[in-house]
Assembly symmetry: C2
Homo-oligomer: 343 residues x 2
DNA sequence: CGGGCGGCTGTTAGCGGTAACAATAGCGGA
DNA sequence: TCCGCTATTGTTACCGCTAACAGCCGCCCG
């Protein structure tokens, strides 16, 4: 009795199927498909033809197990709806594209426990490297990353201790710089409007740096307002209204991100409030969206694309090199736009 | 000579390390860690303790190869910067969270070749299912998906033939509906403003349905404008200005997405143009952003979250059941907002 | 004319788990 | 006391592929 026809549509194909179809050993097929080692032109073509006509798709699981090599890079970020992270991702994939490495994204929703779970899950696939947003992680997360024996890059933030490498900006300094610019422009009654997220450490550090700079000038926040959930643009509008009604003497509103800042700007314009004369405004991130607004909101570019690129480059570079932590600090530029009084 | 100390920080741990540390067989450790099969309480605790203290992270590659089961679901989408897809993703992960399945995202940038590569790459990891945006794929892509022997769900669109299952809306019908509403409101000189993307089939189908409905009413597009790249909000602004200058008699602007529609709305308001009296506006998608605008743009909800949920549910449900294609059509609701004249 | 070498292909032995089945122990009932 | 059954744990055989090495052949060179 002969073997069942190899065209059985049920069973998924293996190297053996291709090897039988092309009359060479599995090893040779493997070599052809990976383009590794010497194979004669004739054999190569016969194998490729067989693979193509069968519709063979290699099994990377088996391949990875045998070769102890996985072309995956884990990327752990808090959110996809923030616009900031998709842009970091662009930088990452752009750079990884040339290297044969591939990013795999995990989202934590700003939850440390979820982050721990995501990291565990990713490490269990034995990736070639990991890119993780932020420096704050659970004890277990740091331990896992440190033990993994692969390059780890923590991104976005450099105010703290990294497990291995880090690429980012100092949010503390960014907050400070913005405060200094605001004070220099003559504003004195300054309010902060932000998200209510205990785990958004970067926003926290910006606020901290901001308040430090205020203190150094003998000032303190005149008011503050937080929100969570909902449309950021709308929340920016609402919070702005609330703050201005509550504290009519406020002369500057510092937002923790551009989206709510844009909402505030639209509100002020609609109310006929003189910006930046009566009230000044500033956000953070430099999102593309701002370009379409009636007036350019003051902001600070967070170097997102560049952070993604540099992080990916570190992983790609270390591919089989030594593991040595390097910290790359980028410097955001303050874009004063039209919502801060000139000198 | 004794074995080197098992605390060697270089080598990554295996089941054997845990088994030796806890004095039971590898099989028992495997059972404990997967919570499968009967293990005595004492043994279980001993094993868990050993695993924890060693910092053992299972190797899913080996596990998947041995068990022929992979808890991954491939998700292939054209872009992350569109806001639409992150939302679909939310629906997917939300539903998958309960099932032990995990989404893995791949981005194609609206390129069919890139999509083919991404699908190939994903299938080579033998996922439990695939969710792919759109119905248009290369011949090879469709063949691979069909051959894979796993549930395939094509999302967003149902105007066409699916490989297996599909969940989405009819973009053709959506365009038609919007046109009918616009005509019913009395607008006659209608322009279209959209993206220049030959591979955005859904936008194309909307426009097609839109024009069909116009034709049925004896009308045709009075003008059209396309853009590519850049800030959508800004482009919406610029395109609107261009169209209104070129064709001053235009009385309605139909945008292919809400972002450029919002730009157009801001432009009109800034110019003091009477909306919806002199000019009516409509977009597509129902993005959250719109809530924060000074006036509510007419739009059509694309059921993004629901599409994600339903698609994930199909994959999860079929986990080990029969593979049978089902097509789920969702019906977007037209939200007239404040930018279409009332009856 | 023989050894050596390079080009090509095959063989063997896992990679680190898990399915399936075997083995062992402890216990109650006949 | 012996048997059978259940609860628990161990053994064996791969999963599909690749590293490492072995084998074969023809040709060049001394």
């Amino acid at each position: 009795m002969s073997r069942p026809p190899s065209h059985d549509p049920k069973r998924t194909l293996t190297l053996r199927d291709v090897s039988e179809a092309s009359g060479v050993s599995e090893m040779t097929v493997s070599r052809v498909l990976r383009n590794r080692g010497d194979v004669s032109v004739g054999t190569r073509e016969r194998v490729l033809e067989a693979a193509r006509s069968l519709g063979y798709v290699p099994n990377k699981i088996a391949g990875a197990l045998a070769s102890q090599r996985v072309n995956l890079v884990g990327v752990v970020i808090p959110s996809l709806s923030n616009m900031v992270f998709p842009e970091v991702l662009s930088g990452i994939s752009e750079t990884l594209d040339d290297t044969g490495l591939q990013p795999v994204v995990g989202v934590t929703n700003y939850s440390p426990e979820r982050e721990e779970a995501v990291i565990y899950e990713m490490l269990s696939w034995r990736p070639s490297g990991m890119i993780v947003a932020g420096l704050e992680h659970t004890e277990a997360s740091r331990a896992m990353l440190a033990q993994a024996g692969i390059p780890i890059v923590e991104i976005m933030d450099i105010d703290g201790a990294a497990v291995d490498s880090a690429v980012g900006i100092s949010h503390n300094r960014a907050g400070r710089q913005m405060a200094e610019a605001i004070i220099a422009a003559g504003y004195r009654r300054i309010a902060f409007l932000g998200t209510m997220m205990p785990h958004d450490h970067r926003a926290r550090k910006r606020l901290q740096g901001f308040e430090e700079a205020l203190a150094r000038a003998g000032l303190e926040l005149a008011d503050r307002e937080f929100y969570s959930g909902g449309s950021a643009l709308l929340k920016g509008r609402e919070m702005t209204e609330a703050v201005l009604k509550r504290s009519p003497d406020i002369d500057f509103l510092y937002y923790s991100n551009d989206m709510i800042g844009a909402g505030g700007l639209l509100y002020c314009l609609a109310q006929g409030i003189d910006v930046p004369g009566r009230v000044g405004l500033a956000g953070f991130n430099g999102v593309e969206l701002l370009d379409g607004l009636p007036r350019r909101l003051a902001t600070m570019d967070a170097c997102r694309l560049e952070i993604g690129r540099k992080a990916a480059a570190i992983i790609a570079g270390k591919h089989d090199g030594v593991i040595g932590g390097e910290v790359i600090e980028l410097f955001p530029t303050l874009e004063p736009g039209d919502t801060i009084r000139k000198g």
